[in-house]
């Protein structure tokens, strides 16, 4: 499914009140309202089969955007077309082609086995029996939960529960899938399993995915393209790695000499490059080109005992980015 978002804005009114008993009294008598602009003038086009990551801090407007796309919210202004459907009309044909997975919420019944909830979904989405069986088998196998189908959901581990949620969301073979923090709270292994699955499913079925996650590893592994929202505005739309390079083009170099190098050589090098020397170990964080040059110079001084060039952790990079996004773009 292709998505076409044009000039979308959404604002909320809420009542505000000051803390404490006095504030409570005041709002008891007279409530004050204020308007909050969650999204302003968002434009985004997504092609069929893409996986796009939506990035932004808490409260930036990610969830609002997702909810607008599936028709849970009515925009204040602008239009969204998803394969010709307007989401907030919530036509059944449209709803049958989409799915939402929210990491913090569950749609499965807590006290009964997941398989029973799946059956209910079969009825709700009117999935023919044969197709239902086939899809279920495939998903269960892929996610490796064959033996958990008949266990009450509340007895499942968080990771297993998430897998079940994903199965429930995919039974009707949606063409457009929104994942809101799908790996939240999961351990590293479960996280990477779910990532692998999403990647595989996307390639197999050519379905469109939109993904939000606090784990940059999720984004890096799954999304070539990201859309960054900051304070309700669209800030960046493009390749993720290009964004990372833009923020911090540096790589990290560690270079260990067999002996402490001559001081005058180091001093002259330090005029050209920025690096640290502790005993006989050089560490530096530099952009690609400079780093290569520095490396060449260091090799001229002496052969290293060891050396390494590493990418900076993307997690840290993005944290730097969100502390002041405007600066980098």
């Amino acid at each position: 499914m292709s998505i076409h978002i044009q000039n979308i804005s959404k604002s909320f009114t809420s009542f505000k009140r000051e803390a404490g008993l006095k504030g409570a009294f005041q709002s008891f008598i007279n409530r004050k309202y204020e308007t909050f602009h969650a999204l302003q003038n968002i434009n985004l086009d997504v092609d069929s089969g893409e996986i796009v990551g939506i990035l932004g801090e808490n409260g930036a407007g990610k969830t609002t955007l997702i909810k607008l796309m599936v028709g849970l919210l009515y925009p204040t202004d602008g239009s969204i077309h998803i394969d010709g459907y307007t989401p907030w009309k919530r036509k059944n044909e449209f709803l049958k082609q989409i799915s939402v997975v929210m990491g913090q919420k569950n749609q499965l019944w807590w006290d009964i086995p997941a398989s029973e909830s799946f059956l209910l979904n079969q009825k709700i989405y009117e999935i023919p029996q044969a197709e239902y069986k086939k899809t279920l088998e495939e998903l269960v196998q892929l996610l490796n939960v064959e033996d958990k189908l008949n266990v009450q959901v509340r007895r499942l581990s968080l990771g297993e529960r998430m897998k079940m949620e994903i199965i429930a969301a995919l039974l009707h073979k949606p063409k457009f899938i929104l994942l809101d923090e799908p790996t939240i709270g999961l351990d590293v292994i479960s996280q990477s399993k779910i990532r692998e699955f999403i990647k595989f499913y996307n390639e197999e079925h050519n379905s469109t995915f939109l993904l939000t996650s606090h784990y940059m590893n999720d984004i890096q592994a799954l999304c070539d393209r990201v859309f960054v929202i900051h304070k309700g505005h669209g800030l960046y739309d493009g390749n993720f790695n290009a964004l990372v390079n833009k923020i911090k083009p540096q790589k990290k170099l560690i270079f260990e000499f067999p002996h402490a190098p001559a001081e005058d050589m180091i001093v002259s090098l330090q005029q050209e490059f920025e690096f640290n020397l502790i005993r006989n170990v050089v560490t530096a964080e530099l952009p690609d080109k400079q780093l290569t040059k520095l490396l060449g110079s260091l090799f001229k001084l002496d052969d290293p005992v060891t050396f390494s060039v590493e990418e900076l952790p993307v997690e840290d990079t993005m944290r730097t980015f969100f502390s002041n996004p405007e600066k980098f773009l």
Binding site: G20, L21, A24, F25, S27, F28
Partner: protein
Amino acid sequence: MFKFLKKYSAVIKMTWIQTLEYRANLYVGLFSILSGIFIEYLIWKQIFVARGTELIRGFTLNELVAFIFLSMIVGQLKSSWVTSIEMIDAIRSGGLNKYLIRPISFYTYHLMMFIGQNSLFYMAYFTLIAAFPFIFPGLAFTTNFQVFGFLAALFLAVYLSYNMYYIMVCISFWFHEVRALVIAYNIANIILSGQIIPLRFFPEMYLKIIAFTPLPFLVDFPVSIATGQLPTDMWASKFFLGFCWCLITWGIGKTLYYFGIKQYGGYGA
């Protein structure tokens, strides 16, 4: 003592803030009382007309309505079933731990919370009651003595009722579904303690039985004082008996808690 008051008055204050946010509760509570008394009035009016009498069991229609009106108010003020359900959930789900690791008593904390949550109701109903001498002149609160007697008896009723709920709460240390018991008791209490029909309208047999229970002290006692139905010379002995019931129920609650806490698994943590 001062410290004790300070600590628990903070609890009450906290619940005020909450209560003010849920002002709809007050409106519904008032609606409950007013619509309730209205329906009772319609029923009893028909009965008085059908019987063609001025008095039933010594009550005129107006006296009866005033009596039931007050009974409904007292009945609502004393019922701590919502708090009790929260307490049971705390025991069942491990939320009790919160109280065990802090210098605060489970029993007192929730008593204060119950009073705090009801404070808006107290204010509203006391305003209503203050208007009583004008709405029902001569039917209730004819002397200052009755006013203070009523307040003391109301205090006793609220405390006694809380103790009775507390006993049920403590039973949940041993049994799973005590919630149903609390709800069942609450429903039964509406009629059995005389909240919608005065106790003296009940069959003799029933009155004899409940004379051996704390039930008459929950609603009938304070309202009888306020309306002058209870002769002044009987106050002392009644108050003494009510006080004994408070002690007994308090003792039972404490004992159950003492043994129950040893049973307590600290689930959930």
